[in-house]
């Protein structure tokens, strides 16, 4: 694994989850959509030893026409929407709700997709990290933001995800950036705890 702050090169053996993710983001790439994967899958992709039932994906805000095109492409790609009619997802996304897509005849794993609607989600897209994985490319949130956001979420599982990323990328992390994100999310105490663990 090699990480320089902007690009992560991984030569891991692909898991079934990685294969699901690469297939899904391929659709986003075909539509030329700006996206970023956040939360648990970022930790799992980089080695955290746990599974997950969903993969969180933030996409740029789309207009209604583009959302229809996105929905059609998703449906044609063999996915269904768990929590809405696939034709009605624009309203949910516009209301800052996530829509969940799974492969037909499945419920898990699924992709929880939402529009970038706050400064942290927009920052995740603007400062995304490119991951080179088995000759394919996907984009994840900046690691510093991911750690701070996991601390913000606050469960023990989230703390462990943050700890994994913090220890794994200890030498490459931009500590000032991590501090700044932690300040903005008001998790400076949790960051102190993480640094002392």
């Amino acid at each position: 694994m090699r990480f320089d702050g902007e690009k992560l090169e991984l030569a891991r053996e692909l898991s079934k989850l990685d294969e699901f993710v690469l297939e899904f983001v391929n659709i986003l790439e075909e539509l030329d959509l700006e996206y970023v994967i956040v939360s648990g899958y970022v930790a799992i992709l980089t080695g955290r030893s746990r599974g997950t039932e969903d993969v969180d994906v933030i996409i740029e805000e789309l207009d209604e026409k583009m959302t229809r095109e996105f929905a059609k492409k998703i449906k044609d790609g063999g996915y269904w929407c768990i929590n809405s009619e696939i034709s009605n997802i624009y309203g949910m996304l516009k209301d800052d709700l996530a829509v969940r897509f799974a492969e037909e005849d499945r419920v898990i794993p699924n992709f929880e997709v939402r529009f970038a609607s706050d400064k942290f989600e927009r920052s995740a897209i603007e400062n995304k990290v490119r991951v080179d994985l088995e000759q394919k490319i996907l984009y994840i949130s900046p690691i510093e933001l991911q750690i701070a956001y996991k601390l913000y979420l606050g469960s023990e599982k989230d703390f462990e995800d943050a700890l994994h990323l913090y220890k794994l990328f200890a030498e490459e992390l931009d500590k000032e950036k991590l501090k700044e994100y932690s300040k903005q999310l008001e998790v400076e105490d949790s960051l102190d705890e993480l640094e002392g663990t």
Partner: protein, 50 residues
Amino acid sequence: MSLKELEEKKEKNKKARREFVKYWAEYVKNHDDKKWSRQQNIVINSQISE
């Protein structure tokens, strides 16, 4: 076992889990991607049916 003892047990378990997370992160950092991912995939793939 009292609730206090139960709480202490929970705290001890939390610390032990965190120690393992750190140990595994070091392992991932210091081993070939194929070596750690082959082990991790046993955990991940077992949760996903064909």
